[in-house]
């Protein structure tokens, strides 16, 4: 249970860096009623609705908002520990004079990532999903309302570290970027194809560690392309800066469109 307001720890909270208090998402409401079943008079209602329709509709609303304000929104997804936050820290530090940016951080618990991003001076909001394994379009809607995004800016959304669940949830982003680090297996695109299928860009991070690990970059790219032949790749080391210029150039180009 949370000490501030007594909420269940599994609910989603939204917090800006430096704020002590947080607030909750509306959650999903159901009608609760108890009934006994009698199947003799059953009738069938044709529904034909997309189960993720509500999320997709909200994602489209987010997309419309981003388009109207000319905001370039990217959704960063990966397993935990691939270096998404370091990649963001370095990117924001390098580009803060070129591209006005804001960040939405998604994690189950803690303000740690938002605190790290805040040191770059870029506005950041932390979403803690509690037990939730992914961000959804409604959370993003609430988060950008709090952040008050600038026109002609770039919004970086760092999803919960999870290579499975976030694949199914459109947030309204322009580009979905899957990050894989060379300390993971090069066959990850084959093991988690749904995520690679749903991505536009693949960043291979921590390439400075290639001499020390059994990771074949070309094989990884080949596997990823077998799953999704539209993927575009960046090979970088956020720590040493290797390959980062190409990534920055792409970001600048995309944000100016």
């Amino acid at each position: 249970m949370c000490d501030t307001c007594g909420c269940g720890a599994d609910s989603t909270t939204f917090r800006k860096h430096g704020e002590d208090h947080h607030h909750h998402g509306d959650g999903h409401h159901h009608t609760h009623d108890h009934h006994t079943h009698d199947h003799s008079n059953d009738r069938t209602i044709a529904v034909e609705q997309d189960i993720l329709g509500e999320n997709n509709l909200l994602a489209q609303r987010n997309r419309g908002y981003f388009e109207a304000k000319n905001i370039f929104a990217i959704n960063l997804v990966s397993s935990p520990g691939s270096g998404k936050t370091t990649l963001l820290e370095k990117t924001l530090t390098a580009l803060k004079n070129d591209i006005p940016s804001a960040v939405i951080e998604g994690d189950q618990q803690t303000m740690n990532d938002a605190d790290r991003i805040a040191t770059t001076g870029v506005p950041v909001l932390q979403i803690n999903t509690g037990n939730g394994c992914h961000l959804d379009a409604e959370m993003i809607h609430t988060a950008y309302g709090e952040l008050k995004l600038q026109d002609n800016s770039t919004l970086f959304i760092e999803n919960v570290g999870n290579l499975v669940c976030p694949a199914l949830f459109d947030l309204g982003e322009d580009k979905r970027i899957v990050v894989i680090s060379v300390t993971e297996g090069d066959d990850k695109p084959l093991k988690y194809p749904t995520m690679f299928d749903a991505a536009d860009i693949c960043i291979i991070n921590k390439i400075d560690l290639l001499p020390y690990v059994q990771f074949d970059v070309e094989k990884c790219k080949e596997y990823a392309l077998r799953v999704n032949h539209h993927l575009k790749f960046f090979e970088v080391s956020a720590t040493t800066g290797e390959g980062m210029e190409t990534w920055y150039a792409w970001l600048k180009d995309q944000s100016q469109k």
Binding site: Q49, C165, D197
Partner: protein, 113 residues
């Protein structure tokens, strides 16, 4: 465990439809689930049983119609059934395929009384 969110969405949609119809309970919910939808059916069933408690759908049956996935080869335009995102065209051995169907995740019908 995104299956929990999916199960909650299913119950939400089904209960709204049942309420609109003036039904007193839901006996069955039918889904169309594509082979590449990213859903684990066992996990969805488990979550469904947990989520439907205390709703109009309590004790209802979840019927899942699994839809096959189809792809079209970009090189030779051959259309064939696949069971994974990575699939080799049986005609020309190319991995460059466009997925035509298999990502579906749809609530088809609700039986009520």
């Amino acid at each position: 465990m995104h299956e929990m969110s999916i199960a909650m969405n299913i119950i939400n949609i089904a209960c709204k439809e049942a309420e609109k119809d003036g039904a007193s309970s839901i006996s069955k919910i039918e889904l169309d689930v594509g082979r590449l939808s990213g859903i684990m059916i066992d996990s969805l069933q488990f979550c469904y049983d947990a989520v439907c408690k205390g709703t109009l759908a309590e004790n209802s049956l979840l019927e899942i119609n699994e839809l096959p996935a189809m792809a079209c080869c970009k090189k030779c335009e051959h259309t064939f059934e696949i069971d994974a995102f990575m699939a080799l065209c049986p005609e020309c051995d190319s991995y460059e395929i466009d997925i035509l169907q298999g990502r579906e995740l749809k609530l088809r019908a609700v039986s009520v009384n």
